[in-house]
């Protein structure tokens, strides 16, 4: 059990430590820093591979108060290897991509520390550990999003961090309650605890709170708003990391919640399923309208996350017979990461060469770049779910899981309408995926270049360095390998992941290339073709003056929840309400004092008609009562002090004001003190107006001192003198 335990700690903390080292190296030598980063991620990848077999545990007690626990094996191992692989590839690619960037040292520092934090999330064995690394990851990746420092990037970064902070805090709150209820944070113990719970109603609320942060990171509706902004704004390697790995940390949390805490829970599953379906369709729908290469890819990520969430939801709904859904989920996580990385790196190649991402400006740039074209095509076919490529396998499994449940419902004689609808939305989204991918593929690699816009930019002979080309080839090849040998590669991965999600293994092997399964793909392809030719080419393209087609920007701004709801509510409505409350509260005490105390003074003066003398007599009376009251127990000392205080008040009232003036004058060069309007002064002299009104503050304060300072301050000074002497 414990064999590889130190290795886990190494995997988490090594990148964080080397982040500091790389920063120091980077101050001296930039090439050495790049090499160092590559070595670090390679070492990380190797150790992840070493640690991925078998299960190991590692815990440090006492650190972060509750201690942290790591565990490897099953889905954790897969995610760990996947993450380190993506990091390796993007870091190799970064060398060339960032060659002309500012602040590279900062990038490498935060890139490496994000790696460590991400590993911490994936390996965590309890929610406390997850949360700690999750929060660290949010903040380190924030810097990656904003790295470009353009206005767009900063805006996107702020949206990202706002969603991350809100999500993280809500998750934290949910965890407080969960911890209170169960007394543990460990996944396995929570799972056992939950299976013994009869009434789950409060736990659904806690669960949804915990889900918020993870859902936000995954990009689930309605917290997806940051994703289509942040992913395109980041530099391409960082977008790849965000899209491929960081969203998966959210998914990891969702999976833990759904398959361990709410294990086989149909209600919870349905909730995730509905969220997933909306996210899936919304992402695909938005991607159609985008005319920015990376934005399309980001929306596509959104949509693919939706697919994964559907798998997670179906696991809950299917209960114990959820093997298909579990496999589909795990495989789609892997596929999406690899494919999206490929696509983002291709987009990065484009941006690196011509610094444009607008489809109208980069049109035709890739016509003569065979390698890039093939690799991108691999990604397209993979993500579109075309048989023989990676994505097909996982999508088929996910589709199968829905179909299976429809069959179950039909057998039971219940209405399967909802799931029929989900199935069709699933197929339509698959079709839309093909359509928007076709849109960007034709734009970049098929259509002729616009001679005006980027004719001269095509002259670069060498648009990719050797390393970057190697990275792209690797990624592209993987997608094919996954698709061509589904049972050998993907089957093993699925088996490995199963136990984490509490699935019991496939009851029968899936014949991926049987007609039943191919049918779904064919429907999607048909829908895709119809949408592409019937919608995109007709409505989203227009002839420009020189006879070329241009892509029109019809990005549905009206659909933005962020602009319509979140921003107004969070930035205007709530702060103004809260601010009003806070201001009222802030001013209330002083306001009440300023109104009631002088009024009481006037009442006293007019009704009781006291003078200075009367007041001090009254005061003396009260004080001496109090002193008498206490003196029996207190043996005289306070009596004397208070009598002395009162005498001092009586004799040195005028003296005191004079002294204060002198003190201020002598020590603080303050000359502006003068009394204005003696009559006014008398009227409310005795009582403090603790108020800050425009002119009277300092006078009010000083008059207040007349009583309170003299009573207490001087009394105590005398007390000390008395004590010392």
């Amino acid at each position: 059990m414990k064999e590889n335990s130190m290795l886990l700690a190494f995997i988490v903390f090594f990148p964080v430590l080397s982040a500091f080292v790389s920063y120091l190296i980077g101050r001296k030598n930039k090439t050495a820093r790049n090499r160092f980063a590559c070595i670090v991620v390679s070492v990380e990848f190797l150790s992840a591979c070493m640690a991925c077999f078998g299960t190991a545990e590692f815990s440090i007690n006492g650190i972060f108060a509750l201690g942290i626990n790591f565990q490897s094996g099953s889905l954790r191992s897969i995610l760990m290897v996947l993450a380190s692989f993506v990091w390796l590839m993007t870091t190799l690619f970064s060398n060339e991509y960032f060659a002309h960037y500012r602040n590279r040292n900062r990038y490498y520092f935060f890139m490496l520390s994000t790696l460590g934090a991400t590993m911490g999330v994936f390996l965590s064995a309890d929610f406390f550990t997850t949360l700690i690394f999750f929060e660290i990851m949010s903040f380190t990746s924030w810097v990656l999003v904003m790295h470009d420092e353009t206005e767009n990037a900063i805006k996107a970064g702020m949206t990202y961090i706002t969603v991350a902070v809100i999500g993280g805090l809500v998750t934290l709150t949910g965890m407080f309650f969960l911890y209170k209820a169960s007394g543990t944070m460990r996944f396995d113990e929570l799972s056992v605890f939950m299976s013994g719970v009869e009434d789950k109603t409060p736990y659904y609320i806690y669960g949804i709170m915990v889900l918020t942060g993870f859902g936000a990171k995954a990009g689930a509706f309605p917290l997806h708003i940051w994703l289509p902004e942040a992913h395109p704004a980041a530099p391409a390697p960082a977008s790849a990391l965000l899209s491929c790995v960081l969203t998966k940390t959210g998914i990891f949390g969702v999976i833990v919640l759904s398959t361990q805490i709410f294990m086989y829970d149909a209600k919870w599953g349905l909730f995730i399923l509905v969220t997933g379906t909306i996210t899936m369709f919304l992402g695909a729908f938005l991607a159609l309208f985008s005319i920015n290469l990376k934005r399309t890819l980001a929306c596509s990520s959104l949509s693919q996350i939706g697919f994964i969430l559907i798998g997670v939801g179906m696991q809950g709904i299917l209960g114990e017979h959820n093997a298909i859904a579990a496999c589909g989920t795990a495989l789609h996580i892997v596929n999406h990461s690899i494919i999206k990385m490929t696509l983002f790196l291709c987009a990065g190649t484009v941006y690196m060469n011509i610094h444009e991402l607008d489809l109208n400006k980069i049109r035709g740039w890739g016509r003569d770049k065979l390698l890039l074209k093939i690799v991108f095509l691999q990604g397209l076919l993979g993500i579109g779910g075309i048989p023989l490529w990676g994505g097909y396998i996982s999508k088929t499994l996910l589709h199968e899981s829905i179909v299976e449940y429809i069959a179950v419902l039909n057998e039971a004689g219940q209405s399967a309408f909802l799931f029929k609808a989900v199935e069709w939305i699933f197929l339509i989204s698959g079709g839309l995926t093909l359509a928007y991918m076709a849109k960007i593929f034709t734009a970049v690699f098929v259509e002729k270049a616009d001679s005006i816009s980027n004719g001269n930019k095509n002259q670069h002979n060498k648009y990719l360095s050797g390393t970057s080309a190697f990275v792209l080839i690797c990624c592209g090849a993987l997608i094919s390998v996954f698709g061509l040998f589904p049972n050998a590669v993907m089957g093993n991965i699925a088996d490995m992941a199963g136990s984490f999600m509490n699935s019991h293994g496939m009851e029968h092997a899936v014949h991926y290339f049987a007609w039943v399964n191919l049918k779904g793909a064919v429907i999607s392809v048909i829908i895709g073709a119809v949408v592409y030719f019937g919608f995109i080419r007709v409505f989203l393209m227009a002839k420009s003056r020189n006879g070329h087609n241009t892509y029109i920007d019809l990005w549905p701004k009206w659909l933005s929840i962020e602009k319509k709801i979140y921003r107004p509510v969070l930035l205007s409505l709530l702060p103004s309400i809260g601010g009003a409350c806070a201001n009222i509260m802030n001013a209330s005490f002083e306001f009440i004092c300023s109104k009631t105390v002088p009024a009481a003074g006037i009442v006293c003066e007019n009704v009781l008609n006291p003078s200075f003398e009367d007041l001090y007599k009254a005061l003396y009376f009260i004080m001496s009562r109090a002193v008498e009251f206490v003196s029996g127990l207190m043996e005289n000392i306070f009596l004397w002090l208070l009598i002395a205080g009162v005498i001092v008040i009586r004799f040195f009232k005028g003296m005191y004001d004079y002294m204060l003036q002198v003190v201020l004058y002598l020590f603080f060069n303050y000359e502006e003190i003068s009394y204005e309007g003696k009559r006014n002064f008398r009227k409310d002299a005795y009582f403090s107006r603790f108020s800050v009104d425009k002119y009277g503050e300092e006078r009010g304060m000083r008059e207040n001192l007349s009583i309170s300072l003299m009573l207490f301050g001087i009394g105590v000074v005398l007390a000390l003198l008395y004590l010392i002497i």
Partner: protein, 489 residues
């Protein structure tokens, strides 16, 4: 002899203070303060790690005496105060170069330390009250220091509020003398059940008055208004210690009164606990919200203090071991983080003169180390791991859920903690983001390295490291706290 050592940390700085005006040479002044403070730290640590000590200086009557002792809370406070005082003093060596009357500042600065030590080590109410009043009198000159019209108005406001608050505390003390068996701090309370029978609710009103009175120093509603007035006008090191340490002394007085005089059982589960919890929760929200809307950096930080110290009060008033542990953790992490923030603000003011947050665009490029420290401290205030603020928030919230009677108020408290954390992110992260990511419009050509010298940087870095250390290795502290809570509960 061993017991007389307790007097040393209290009177040594006060005596040193009287020597300040005698030092004429610049070099002497520069060396004198840090050396004396370092010596003070040494003595404080010797006392803290030695055994329990107690000394009665002077017995006035059977009930009243001036005496000191070092129990768990005293050790915690004295160590924290002496270390922070030293760091802020090192920082001021550079900062005060652009102020006048340096020796006067340091005179009162040293004297304040002695007084604060007196509060930490006091073992009965009389002693604490005495030093509590002196704390006000010794720190007012720090606020007045710049001698501008604003500063004097603020200083007087501070004085008025503090005296009034302490007065409320004193009134309560009269009643404690009657109803209690002693006024020495005794874990579990001193109230005599036979005497208080029938007067419980009256005494709870008195208790409420004391809480509001001492809450003044801790910046609790309704007597919070001095904080945002006094902090911005004081020199940065002074506002740092005002915000980080002096407010915590109000908290100490509250802890002493609640746990060592009235006793937990007297207050827990009664209406008065609900009232003070609501006051603390309200203050948390109010402070954060006002900070969020404030544009002047130091004032923003002052509002932030109001909110953050009320986190501590929230934990103290919950009266569960876990929550008290969280409160003490928050005392430490906030003291360190807020000092780091105020000192960073001071460094920025010292080097650039900027006081408003919108002037700080791109400041992170000019003063990277300062702003990195600022960022780490900000993360702690928000409560992001791996900083101290996260751990204290975790303990506070789990402590709130531990409350034995089922009430809605602790849950509301948690919600407000979370909302306040969000607002904290809103008012601090925007500064961080503007500082490091000024946007493309930023003029890089005007960029110059404005990093201050090591006198400023080292204390800042030490504080930032402290924030992280409290967050990553809190176990040692938590052991100390559980020792304290075991005595009380």
């Amino acid at each position: 002899m061993g017991n007389y050592l307790l007097l040393f940390p209290v009177f040594f700085p006060i005596i040193c203070a009287f020597f300040m005006p005698l030092l004429k040479k610049q070099r002497q002044k520069e060396l004198f303060v840090p050396l004396m403070l370092a010596f003070e730290i040494l003595i404080v640590f010797i006392i803290s790690f030695g055994g329990f000590k107690e000394i009665e200086v002077w017995r006035i009557s059977s009930l009243l005496s001036i005496s000191f002792s070092n129990d768990g809370l005293s050790r915690l406070y004295s160590c924290l105060i002496s270390v922070i005082w030293f760091l802020a003093a090192v920082f001021s060596m550079e900062y005060m170069k652009h102020e006048e009357h340096v020796e006067r500042f340091f005179m009162f600065y040293m004297a304040s330390l002695g007084v604060l030590m007196g509060i930490s080590y006091s073992s009965n109410f009389m002693t604490m009250y005495l030093f509590y009043e002196f704390m006000t009198l010794a720190t007012v000159p720090l606020v007045l220091h710049t001698e501008t019209h604003d500063a004097i108005a603020a200083g007087l406001k501070y004085l008025g509020y503090s005296i009034f608050g302490a007065g409320l505390g004193l009134i309560g003390f009269f009643f404690l003398c009657i109803y209690g068996s002693t006024t020495s701090f005794t874990a579990g309370g001193v109230l005599d059940p036979a005497v208080i029978a029938g007067h419980e609710n009256f005494l709870r009103v008195v208790y409420l008055g004391m809480m509001i009175g001492f809450g003044c120093k801790a910046g609790m509603y309704p007597l919070h208004a001095w904080l945002p007035t006094a902090h911005p006008v004081a020199p940065a090191p002074a506002s740092a210690v005002l915000s980080g340490i002096i407010t915590k002394c109000g908290v100490l007085a509250i802890i002493r009164t609640t746990y060592y005089l009235f006793g937990v059982d007297f207050v827990r589960g009664t209406w008065v606990q609900n009232v003070i919890l609501v006051l603390a929760i309200g203050t948390i929200f109010m402070g954060s919200m006002l900070a969020y809307r404030e544009k002047m950096l130091k004032k923003r930080l002052a509002y932030s203090t109001i909110s953050q110290v009320s986190y501590v009060l929230f934990g103290v008033f919950l009266m569960t071991p876990q929550a008290l542990c969280g409160a003490l953790l928050q005392v430490i992490s906030h003291a360190i983080a807020k000092n780091a923030l105020f000192l960073s603000a001071g460094a920025v003011i010292y080097k650039t003169g900027h006081t408003y947050v919108y002037e700080l665009k791109g400041i992170g490029k000019q003063m990277p180390v300062v702003m990195v420290c600022f960022t780490i401290a900000s993360l702690s205030l928000i409560g992001i791991p791996p900083t101290g603020g996260f751990i204290s928030k975790w303990f506070l919230a789990t402590g709130a859920l531990e409350v034995p009677y089922s009430g809605i108020i602790p849950v509301i408290g948690i919600a407000v903690l979370i909302i306040s954390a969000l607002l904290t992110a809103g008012y601090l992260l925007t500064i961080v983001s503007d500082a490091f990511f000024p946007g493309k419009g930023f003029d890089y050509s005007k960029l110059e390295n404005k990093e201050p010298n090591y006198l400023m940087l080292v204390p800042l870095m030490a504080l930032a490291a402290g924030v992280l250390a409290v967050g990553i290795f809190p176990s040692g502290l938590i052991d100390v706290f559980s020792g304290i809570t075991q005595d009380i509960f």
